[in-house]
Symmetry: C2
Subunit: 173 residues, 2 copies
Amino acid sequence: MLKAALELFVENGYERTSAGQIAARAGVTEMTFFRHFPTKADVLVDDPYDPVIGEAIRKQPMELDPITRAARGVRSAWLELPSPATDEVRIRLRIVAETPSLRASMVAGTAATEAVIADALVSGGTVRRTAVIAAGAVMGALNTALLAWSQTDSDDLGEAITTALDVLEERRG
Amino acid sequence: MLKAALELFVENGYERTSAGQIAARAGVTEMTFFRHFPTKADVLVDDPYDPVIGEAIRKQPMELDPITRAARGVRSAWLELPSPATDEVRIRLRIVAETPSLRASMVAGTAATEAVIADALVSGGTVRRTAVIAAGAVMGALNTALLAWSQTDSDDLGEAITTALDVLEERRG
DNA sequence: TTGGAAATGTTAGTGGCTAACATTCCTCAG
DNA sequence: CTGAGGAATGTTAGCCACTAACATTTCCAA
């Protein structure tokens, strides 16, 4: 069913393919589609990284400013985890990038990650208001970087993430 | 009509008030509602700040790193402009904050601002990839700060924005 | 006063999504 | 092998956001 959905999105675009069409191609009912994916957009999103990120941030030295701590935490979480299948990710992100309503749900989907980052920073001594802002900055940078990356075909995914974190940490430019 | 919409949102919540209800209370047809607001969410969003921000960023010294340039630009744009009616803004943002789909459209609505910031940074010598990321970080921080602010009742709006920019610029924490 | 544009209404339909209830499928205890 | 019970699937019907095409009213200016 996921396969059917991705095929149709690539063939006709996200907005122009209906839940019913996906269901039909998967040999199933529209109702069944919505039982698997509570929302059409859910076909294209998911983030299983949150817990690892929280851990990694907590391990950063407290002397650093919060944005740097968060960025380094994300960096080390990324290095620990197996990188996902790049081509799949790129296909999904391309669809997201070209569909405004999906960009919106992508960012909404990062609210949970933002909360995890903010909590980790707070537990390292940062005042909450600051922590929340730093988390927003980091996720903002990452989301933009991912979307931008999806529209190239040369770069590799790890490098895109690394660059984003560099901009946050070292502030080079 | 805008008044009717806000009233109903406050009374019953955003999701539970339909476009038809708003139209009815405003003594008008549902169709007319959608002619004024292409989307139900548009009742609650608008950003007239973009051009001023671009200007202000271009005036920042090029030696600074991109995040700092962007943050200082936004800061000075904010200081130049008349502050909006705080109470109105708070009401709107509260509704946005408590409605996931609206948070999503808020962030989506900042895409234009992000582009303005990125362009201004590029014209100050920053490489595009970096500029885009910095813009994402700044808007991420601002959005989060605004949403967080809307849920307090003591602080003032200018201070919330200023704090967010401080976190980005001075990296205190 | 009238001509014509701008705002509003009518009708009809699409697509996302949900609720309530019926049906089939699969598994596993007896 | 069988039958009972739960899980996955189907059916129907409906709400709401939003759009298209066309008719109607409003209102300002010549």
